[in-house]
Structures are given as C-alpha cells and as structure tokens.
C-alpha cells in the first residue's frame, strides 16, 4: 500500500512519458538518421555521411527559404508585439465597451490560417482586391501588387500573419498589465508622474516574463509557418515565399527526396533549439537571487 502511494504519480505518468519518448524523441532520432542516408522515395538505412546537408546548403531555394524565415520571423515577432502592446495599453484605459473591443481584436486568432491566407490572397490580388478597388474609386495610378512581386511577396505573408496574431498578443499583454500591482501605480499617480512614464518605467519592466512568453509563442509560430504560405502564395511567385517548412514538405511529399527533407527538418529543429534552449535555461536554472 505504501509502495503504491509512493509510486502512483510515476505509474500515472509512465504511459505519456513512454509515448513522448517514442513519438517525439524517437522520431527526431529517426529523422536525424534518415538525414544521413541517401533515402529517396522510401527510407533507406545505410549511412552516407553529410551529403544531404551539403546538397541542402548548395540549393539556392534553401537560401531563399532561410532568408525568408529571418525576414518573416523578425518582422512578424517585432510588429505583432508592438501592435499587441499598443492595443493592450489603449484597452487598459478603462474605456467603455472594452469587452466588445477585446473580442473584436482577439477574433482573428480564432480563424484558421488557411482562411486567413485565402482571404488575404483575394484582398491582395491586384486584379481583385485593394488595388482594383482603389483604382475603381478613381485613383488610377494606385499600385499595390506585392503579392505578385517576388521581392515583396514575403511581406504580404508578414501582413497576414501580423493581422492574425497581434490580437492574441494584445490579450497576453492585457492580462499582464492587469496583473501589475495597482498600489504601485496609485502611488506613482499620487506623486504626479505622467501616465506614459508610469508605463515605460514601471508597468512594462514588470511585464518582462510576459514579453518572453509572447516572444516564444510567436517565434515558434514563425518557424512552423506553413499553412499561411500555402494558402496565400503557394510559395510563389516562383519560390520567392518558400519557408523551411514548405521546402521540407515539397522535398518529402512531391519530389520523393526523403533524405533532403530530413536534413532540412534537422536544420529547422536547430533553429528552434537556438531560440528555445536559452529560454529554458533562463527559466529552469536554480534561482540564487532570492
């Protein structure tokens, strides 16, 4: 009985632990193995060194995909956080109908990225959407054709992704703003400190953990971005809006090039680790400063 009491937590956790070991870490190991072979249509298991990685880094399309990841990831995270923060601060001003506004801003997050992508595809199509509408109103020379310009198309993806995610970031920040101790704010107000100074010097610094959470959530959204690209541009024009995830999909499922897909997946995982590991380190290290 006593043994049972001591071991129930372990017994309860065991199945999910085993499942995660196999289906997450087991398959990561399997992918790593495949990335070192010459697998094409079907997995093969004879090791062949790093030739798949050499092929990967020699492919111009992979360069485009990685560049796009940094452009998209960087802009998406920064702009979503900035817009989210401002929306949260505005909503925090004890305005009327806050509940309704909050729902309106948060609503895009409830939509599937496929829906967002398809809708923005129509909105941004020069022959159908904004450009055509504004020309129809009489501004004949108006041009907004990013969607079909290879060097600008990646920014349309940023646009749609920011539209989707900034409401969610706002909700995170709003919760953070509300959790700041009101006593401190009152004290500051009594001292006659202007509101913008209260935000910049007191509230925002105490929200640092929320910034970090928002950053982690947005960063992993950016790295796994796939459905939005497929729906909005299909990776085009050409392969100008390819991201690592779409590259991997193309190699694994349309080209019969499993080894190449596996090596690109490993590089993607490396990028995620580069972001997540420092975060975990900062979260999990023993706190000596208390």
């Amino acid at each position: 009985m006593e043994w049972l009491e001591r071991n129930v937590p372990k017994l309860v956790l065991a199945p999910s632990f085993v499942a995660i070991m196999v289906f997450v870490y087991g398959f990561i190991a399997w992918t790593a193995w495949i990335s070192l072979t010459r697998s094409r249509l079907m997995p093969r298991y004879e090791l062949d060194g790093f030739s798949q990685y050499e092929r990967l880094f020699a492919a111009p399309r992979w360069d485009v995909a990685m560049n796009n990841l940094f452009i998209f990831g960087g802009l998406f995270i920064v702009i979503s956080m900035a817009i989210g923060l401002f929306l949260a601060i505005f909503l925090d001003q004890k305005i009327r109908a806050e509940g309704v506004l909050r729902t309106i801003y948060l609503y895009p997050m409830a939509l599937s990225l496929i829906v967002t992508g398809t809708a923005w595809k129509w909105i941004l199509n020069p022959g159908l959407g904004i450009q055509e509408a504004i020309r129809g109103w009489g501004w004949e020379s108006f041009t907004f054709d990013w969607l079909i310009r290879p060097e600008m198309a990646i920014y349309t993806i940023v646009l749609a992704a920011v539209w989707q995610a900034s409401g969610f970031v706002m909700a995170l920040f709003l919760a953070g703003l509300r959790s700041v101790d009101t006593e401190i704010i009152r004290a500051a107000q009594v001292d006659g400190i202007p509101t913008h100074r209260i935000y910049s010097a007191i509230i925002i610094p105490t929200m640092a953990p929320i910034f970090l959470s928002a950053f982690i959530v947005l960063a992993h959204l950016a790295i796994k971005a796939f459905d939005l690209v497929i729906a909005l541009t299909g990776g085009g024009p050409g392969y100008a809006t390819d991201l690592p995830a779409t590259y991997m999909y193309a190699m694994a499922f349309s080209r019969g090039d499993l080894g190449q897909a596996a090596s690109s997946a490993m590089v993607m995982m490396g990028v995620i680790f580069a972001i997540v590991v420092p975060y975990l380190y900062s979260e999990l290290r023993p706190r000596n400063d208390k």
Binding site: L41, A59, P60, R61, G127, G236, G238, F253, R255, D257
Partner: protein, 413 residues
C-alpha cells in the same frame, strides 16, 4: 468445433481459393474530378462484369502528391495496394525500392509490343519485364488559340517562336493579353519545355532534359531558351500569380487572352464549355517539331495471394483493352496509348495528336515530358523546375539561369 476441425476447414478454404479464381483489386488512384471519375467508373464496371471485386481507393488532391503519400504509408506498413496509378520514371523508382509484379504473360498474350509505340512501351517495363499498363497519351506541347481574336487581328497559329513573338506584339498593341498563363511552377515548366523543344529540336531536348548533359544545359541554345522565356514573361498579364491552369484556359475561352500553352487536358475545358475545335478555338502543336507525351499508367505491386494476382492480370488486360482505351480517352480528352483504336468518335485535335504521335514515333521525335514527370525522377525534375520558375518570376539573366540549371542538376543527382 475443436482445434482440428478449424485447421481442416481453413486448409480446405486455402486450397479451394485458387480454383475459385475470384480476382480482387484494390486500386489507388487520384482521378477524382468529374470526367476522370467517370472514366474510372467505366473500368470498375468492366472489372465487375468479369467477376472481379474492385475496392476503390481514390486519394484526391495535389496532382497525385497525396496519393503518393498514401502509397508510401501502405508500402511501409507492408500492405501495398494491388494497382497504383504511377507514371514515368517513378515506375522504375518504385521497382527499385520494393519490386513490382511481372505482368509479362498478359502483355505477351495480348501483343502489347505490337500496338504500343516503342518509346511508350519502354516506360512500362522494369528491367525488361512488363510491370505497368498505359491508359492514355496526353500531348503536352499544344498551343490553344481563341479563333475569334486571331481572325480579328489576322493572326495564324504560330509555327516558330519568332512568329509567336510577332503575333504577341500585335496583340499586345491591340490591348489583348497574348498569353494566358497560370503562376504555378509546373505551368512555367510546361512552357519552358515546349520552348526547349521548339528552339533546340528533339535531339537537343533529349540531351538537355532527358540525358541531363551538362554541355547541353549550359549551351547557347539553352541561353536562347531562357531569353525566349523572358520574352514570354512580358506577354503574360500581371495577375497570373498562383492562377490555376483551368482559369487560364477560361481566359482564352472568354476572349480575355489569345493563346495558352498547355497539354490537351485544356481541350476538356473547352469541350465541357460547349466550344468546338476549329470554330471557337484552335489547337496546334507548339512552334517547332516533336511530340511531348505524358502517359498515365497503372503499376502493379508484388503480392502473394492468388486472388490479387488474378485481379492484377484481369485489370492489366482490361486497361489495355481497345474498348476501355476508347471510352476512357473520349472522357478524358487524351488519346489511346494503343495505336490501333479507331478514332472516328474523337475530335480533330485528338486525331491530329494521334497522327503526330505515330509519325514522331518513327522519326524519333516522340519525347517524354519533363514537366509532367515522364523524363526524370522527382528530385531532378524538381531541381530544374526550381530554376525555371525562379528565372521566370525574377529578372535573372539567361547566363545566370543556365549556370544555376547546371548546378541544380548536379546537386540533384
């Protein structure tokens, strides 16, 4: 029932099974759109009429990508379907990975070698043995024109790419979009390969896109091909990005554009809209000589059960049967792979296609389409398409393009 009688009964069933000859087939295919589904139903009925049991396994979407993923999962779990829609070098690739069934007996009984063009028969063989059955032949290098627009501007169907350029400029000046094109990379590749054939000729096409000869890939002819692609880019309307091929066909149909370069599945769109060849629209081979084919076929996986093997044999003989080839291709818009099927019911474009196929098979200019997976394996074809589409959608110079082409091909070997 004790253990002994269970054993006896099951042994009896196992022994009786071959004698009963109950052909079964589980068929994995991606023919799910209207005309295609009707065509499969024809095969299904014939199969059932011969006493077979058909299990349909249609996987929609992605031009077969989804079906190939399903196939991979089935093969990995050791449960391959009886017959799979596979084509081109993918047949040989699968043969090398897992082995395919030998259907040589059926092929010899029915004299496939005599009724198929040699080049096409070659695709159906794995190390000399028959392992797949062809269903149809699509010609890829067609150019479609809107008859009314062409007449209005006094333009003949172009026979050289220079004529095409001149016609396109006339149309451009008159405010008509010369070429309807969709912005998907396979469509760029389709136009590209017809230009390679048109400017380089069949021999050059063979060297460059089938044998992947580095000298051909970086030759001046290839540069001229990319120059022509740049010119074509200027004749496409600005909204082509991401457009589907059938929407481009609709542009020609509705008089929004004059030409489209597309395989003969575009004809299905015209016919479905009630347009008549020669009256509403015109078809002609793309400028230059030669015939680029895209052959749909079924391959058969190695299976042990007698029922399944009978099913494979029955299916193979039905697929290559003149009746099915006739009905199926009328529905699909393609032409029969057999050269001995009467074409009286077919339209003029199909008749021309068939005549050209026979003539080009003899003169050696019957060639596999690279853009539709007939000439190269997936990784190599994909590498070429990447370069073609990157060039088409940017201001890359032709010199850079041929260099990238050679590098990409070397990288995909």
């Amino acid at each position: 029932m004790n253990m002994k009688s269970v054993l006896a009964a099951s042994t009896a069933v196992m022994l009786a099974a071959p004698a009963m000859a109950n052909p079964t087939a589980e068929v994995l295919h991606w023919w799910t759109s209207g005309g295609e589904a009707r065509s499969v139903a024809v095969l299904q009925e014939q199969f059932a009429a011969e006493g077979g049991t058909w299990t349909d396994m249609p996987v929609a979407g992605g031009g077969g990508d989804a079906a190939m993923t399903a196939l991979r999962a089935r093969v990995l779990s050791g449960n391959a379907p009886t017959a799979v829609q596979l084509k081109g070098p993918a047949i040989q690739e699968w043969y090398e990975e897992t082995g395919l069934a030998d259907i040589g007996t059926v092929a010899e009984e029915n004299g496939w070698d005599d009724v198929l063009p040699a080049q096409i028969a070659e695709h159906m063989k794995c190390e000399g043995q028959w392992c797949a059955a062809p269903v149809n032949v699509h010609r890829v290098n067609w150019i479609w024109g809107n008859k009314q627009i062409l007449d209005e501007h006094g333009i003949e169907m172009p026979t050289t790419w220079e004529e095409f350029n001149a016609a396109a400029e006339t149309l451009q000046a008159a405010g008509v979009t010369p070429l309807a094109h969709g912005g998907q990379s396979w469509q760029d590749a389709t136009v590209f390969e017809t230009v390679v054939l048109g400017l380089g000729g069949p021999e050059f096409f063979q060297q460059a896109l089938v044998d992947l000869d580095p000298e051909a890939l970086t030759s001046d002819t290839m540069k001229a091909v990319f120059d022509q692609m740049r010119v074509i880019r200027g004749h496409v309307d600005p909204n082509f990005s991401g457009r589907d091929w059938n929407l481009a066909t609709a542009m020609v149909m509705n008089g929004e554009a004059a030409f489209q370069v597309m395989g003969d599945w575009a004809k299905g769109e015209f016919l479905a809209a009630g347009k008549e060849p020669g009256v509403d629209f015109v078809c002609a081979p793309t400028p230059g000589e030669g015939f680029l084919y895209n052959v749909d076929s079924f391959a058969f996986f190695e299976l042990s059960g007698q029922d399944a093997q009978d099913g494979q044999a029955l299916l193979a003989s039905l697929i290559m049967g003149p009746e099915f080839q006739h009905t199926f291709n009328l529905n699909k818009g393609s032409i029969p792979a057999r050269t001995d099927v009467a074409l009286d019911d077919f339209d003029d474009c199909a008749k021309q296609s068939n005549a050209d196929m026979t003539a080009d098979a003899e003169s050696g200019s019957l060639l596999p389409s690279y853009a539709h997976g007939m000439a190269l394996r997936g990784a190599q074809a994909g590498a070429i398409t990447d370069v073609v589409t990157a060039h088409f959608n940017s201001d890359m110079s032709s010199d850079d393009a041929v260099q990238q082409l050679a590098d990409a091909v070397a990288n995909a070997m």
